[in-house]
Symmetry: C2
Subunit: 338 residues, 2 copies
DNA sequence: TTGTACGCGTTATCAC
DNA sequence: GTGATAACGCGTACAA
């Protein structure tokens, strides 16, 4: 087992000082060609690499980005991670992923863990429990310490920081409008309780589309799921007890399951009932019939968030405190279900 | 902006030495009650937390685990991450995720980046390109440095280390046997080239099941995809040019798409053609009809891997070099497609 | 009971 | 051209 080699080892072996080695490896002009060559050859031979931890301690820069998301199994979050990863890696940053599991406590613990020097900045999406409680002190503490933060997707006005979101209202509006224009008049909406920022925005878009078309909304056609959890029975009940000619869902899991229920109840898709979901993931693409859906562009969201964060991290002039909110436009992907 | 507070600050503020502060915060017996109380109160007030980086440098322990996977969008890998995360976090470890994107080079770069002190150990699944090249030097270097490593799912015999896999051969065997027992005689197999360890194992299971039942295999019924990529045209061609009464696929994306093609070609599922896939993810669960599939238990795989790794990390007695391979038994989940 | 000194690995400054 | 020294923040053996 050959242990990791350090500057000290090289120095001793070659009988020079540590600082000489350090400079030589940086190709400093101060060092003679001979010495440099000797040291560089030796370092290459033993595959010397500076210890990241020591460098971090010295520079007060870790080159790590902390990403906290509620859940990794949802396709949307996975794509965001992927986007963050790509951009961050290209600039030499690592990505530390923590899952809050939709729990306030886990979110707090993870943030604290990372905030003590492990990372240079955060990218996060709030857990549903956090949004429900409306308690953002753990986040404020972090920003007050001067650690840059970018919130995405599930955000809040209570925290001053950079944000990346999609225009959820517009997404829902577009989808609803399309359905209305197709002549649908009984569009069921399967959304979440209002404390989830995205749920309430999407509900708003649905309502606005109706208002714009001067079409009344039947309250019975709207169902707000208590959490992001799939509760099949609730969805079954909802759909079975209304008459609908279209179904709009706030995520693709709800959508694909809703689609299934609709078919089981004997309605034809898309002939009798059209279905549209949010998140253009594999589920939408490969469901049967394939789902028309509102793409949230997770990868580009992740990339944008990473870009904003790294800019903040590397920007020395910590003067200006104006924060930006980037809004990504959702896209309607039409498939077989409409 | 209140900067992060250090022992030094506290010491200066309270006019004691740094070591006194350090000891007091650890509730050392050496320090008088008065001093301890004073220091602890002050620390709590200013929300003191030790700097992880400094502690890491000192202890040569980062409490970070590096996870390298080919891809995060595949449901299977996402569940593994989730399993690793849960177990690791419960013991105070962070998880650093890197994606190799099925690329050898990215895999090497990421490993090197993390190996220089950022993590205490690796959990990884080989990229397809790495398996194809059969070049494992970057991995051997890491293990030779004494960094613990656990390989999962896509593994190789060329590297000596702990491993967690599912019994892929058995999984395919079970599925094939079931189909044969149902009277199916033209079972198409949609797999990958043999260089992918899981693909070749699954193919083997398929063949063994036929042999055990004394049923000849028609070579035309086996198609090996060149990569893990979905290439819709290839799958279409394959299925259109054979006669089949069942379809077995090595992952759920292939399966759900295969299902679609079969239906488009006018065959009824499951009446005329049965379909079974690997990976019991959301796609399988919510496809239409829902897919019978072989569960790989990703979450428990992740948890097992994390458990093995952390044990290795925390085990001081680096004597014994016997490595384990944990084999998780796949489960056949029966749904509507068979 | 408290403080001094040292080391973890690196880098930057300054002295020779 | 080379080397000694200090510093990043923490913890601990040892000295006072």
């Amino acid at each position: 087992m050959k242990k990791k080699i350090t500057l000290k080892h090289i120095a001793k072996e070659l009988d020079v000082s540590i600082s000489t080695v350090s400079k030589a490896l940086k190709n400093s002009e101060e060092i003679s060609r001979d010495t440099k060559e000797k040291i560089q050859a030796f370092a290459k031979l033993y595959n010397y690499r500076p210890n990241n931890i020591a460098v971090s301690l010295k520079n007060k820069r870790t080159k790590n980005i902390g990403v906290i998301i509620p859940d990794i199994v949802h396709h949307f979050f996975a794509t965001v991670i992927s986007g963050v990863e790509k951009y961050a890696n290209s600039l030499g940053y690592n990505v530390i992923v923590c899952l809050s599991d939709e729990s306030f406590d886990k979110e707090v613990i993870n943030m604290e863990m990372l905030a003590n020097g492990s990372i240079d900045g955060f990218i996060m999406s709030l857990s549903s429990e956090t949004q429900q409680k409306g308690d953002y002190n753990h986040i404020k503490e972090v920003t007050e310490q001067g650690i840059p933060l970018v919130l995405f997707d599930r955000v809040t006005n209570s925290v001053q920081c950079d944000k990346v979101i999609i225009d959820d209202q517009l997404g829902a509006y577009k989808a609803t409008k399309k359905l209305l224009d197709m002549g649908k008049r009984n569009i069921a909406l399967l959304t979440t309780e209002d404390y989830l920022s995205v749920g309430s925005e999407r509900t708003r878009g649905y309502l606005r589309a109706h208002a714009d078309s001067n079409i009344a909304v039947n309250d019975k056609n709207i169902f707000k799921m208590p959490t992001m959890e799939m509760e099949e029975a609730l969805i079954r009940d909802f759909i079975a007890n209304i008459t609908l000619d279209a179904l709009l869902c706030v995520n693709e899991i709800f959508a694909v399951f809703g689609l299934k229920v609709v078919k089981e109840l004997g309605m034809k898709v898309p002939e009798e009932v059209s279905v549209i979901g949010f998140t253009d993931g594999l589920l939408s693409k490969y469901s049967n019939p394939s789902l028309t859906s509102i793409a949230q562009h997770g990868e580009s969201m992740g990339e944008t968030a990473a870009k904003m964060l790294i800019k903040r991290i590397e920007d020395e002039s910590e003067e200006e405190e104006y924060f930006q909110t980037k809004i990504i436009e959702p896209t309607l992907i039409e498939r077989e279900s409409t």
